[in-house]
């Protein structure tokens, strides 16, 4: 063996030993771990709540014949008794145009609803399906619908409210937003059926 060949073999052996014993390099962690895909619903606030809503009220049947859909505003104040049950007071007001036969043209009126309700809830991660219902006192602001025999002497009526919707919890534990729709039966009004649909913002303390 020549001296040059012995030197080349020694170099190759040294490199092989170096590669085989070298440790792998590790990347440095510079970001926080990703949050879980959904917050824990158990950490959502629970207790007294208030919500404000805006939407529409549409009369159906005979009352719907003589009224146009109106804009509605409402407030709900309540308490989460359990994760699956709320009790709430609901006040809603809506302004509608009356579309009556002549001579009463261009008239409008307001509908007020004062209700006591319960809400059943099913929480699925950040979403919540709910059903709600209750009893109410409904009031129309004038006797404008009396001429067409929808109201009869009194502007007040006992009512039943039933509906449901979808709630979406924000990342803030106090706030959620949602969509809801309710059916309202106005017992003393002829053809007194109505639907409300609303979006809301809810704060739970």
């Amino acid at each position: 063996m020549t001296r040059r060949l012995r030197l080349a073999l020694s170099f190759a052996l040294g490199m092989t030993l170096l590669w085989s014993t070298a440790q792998e390099a590790q990347a440095q962690v510079i970001a926080e771990p990703a949050p879980p895909p959904w917050p824990d619903p158990k950490k959502f606030a629970k207790g007294p709540f208030a919500s404000g809503e805006i939407g529409t009220l549409v009369y159906l049947a005979r009352a719907g014949h003589f009224t146009e859909p109106g804009v509605a505003f409402g407030v709900r104040l309540g308490y989460d008794l359990f994760r699956w049950l709320d009790v709430q007071a609901h006040v809603m007001g809506a302004s509608s145009d009356a579309s009556l036969p002549p001579p009463q043209v261009g008239q409008s009126f307001q509908t007020y609803l004062y209700a006591g309700e319960v809400r059943l809830k099913l929480q699925i991660h950040r979403f919540q399906l709910f059903a709600e219902g209750g009893a109410a006192l409904a009031q129309v602001s004038s006797n404008v619908l009396e001429r067409v025999a929808v109201t009869h002497g009194s502007n007040f009526t006992f009512s039943v409210v039933a509906g449901g919707g979808l709630d979406y919890h924000t990342l803030n534990r106090h706030f959620s937003v949602g969509l809801g729709a309710d059916y309202v039966w106005l017992s003393q009004f002829t053809g007194g059926h109505a639907l409300t649909a609303q979006v809301y913002l809810r704060y739970t303390r």
């Binding site: 208030a50 008239q107 004038s142 404008v144």
Partner: protein
Amino acid sequence: MRAGLIFLALAACGCNDPVYLTDNGPIETTPAMMGGGFAPAQGLYVLPVRKPKQNERMALNQLQQQLMLPDKVPWAQAKDFDIEIEWSVQNLDMTKATVIVAVDGGNEFGDYVPSMYIDPNANEEDQTPPPNLLTTEPLVIEAGTTQTGVFREDDLQESALDLEAITRFPSGGDALATPFMVIEHRSNISRIGLEGLPPNDVIPAHVRYQFTVTADAHVVMHYSVRVRDHNGKLAKPTDMDLYVSTDATLAPPVAPPMP
């Protein structure tokens, strides 16, 4: 929360919502007995105002003394009510019709009847009746169609003021001339004809409505009286023993001189 409470308070007070009073029946033109054409049709509607209680009567007397008014203070005052009259006229004929809707009537003290204010001493061509308190332009209504309109709240406030001048305090004591002056002028533009009203006068409301429909065809008029009652003086139309007389005509305290 505060907005909710305000909303509740507004809802509870009712925001002075109107009451709609339906007509006593349609007013329909009929063929004239003589000369062809159609005779004007008339109908009277009297606002149902409740009678004052004893203490309210006493308060009116006290107010008269306090304001040093020469005449009684009205019970049904213009400021007590905001009144609007909605009307519709349907042409029942096969040809188009030209229609005029007019409203006269009066306050609790007396009526204004334009035909009574023709000056018998004037030249024959000047013997024209003064205008109606409220009237429309001539309306052309196609066969079988309906036209609607409104005498607004401010129109009824103005007619109440005009009636006060005509029936109790004519300008310069000239009962015949006053209707021409006050009806032709809006009081917010010109006070012509209102010089006879005492200072601090309490204006009576226009509470009797004499409707006249003049048409050259067979038409029918419907109306509805919308009232916002500010002081709880409106009664139900079905109530008995109401305040304002329902007589066909009510002679005013200052009547025009008889011919």
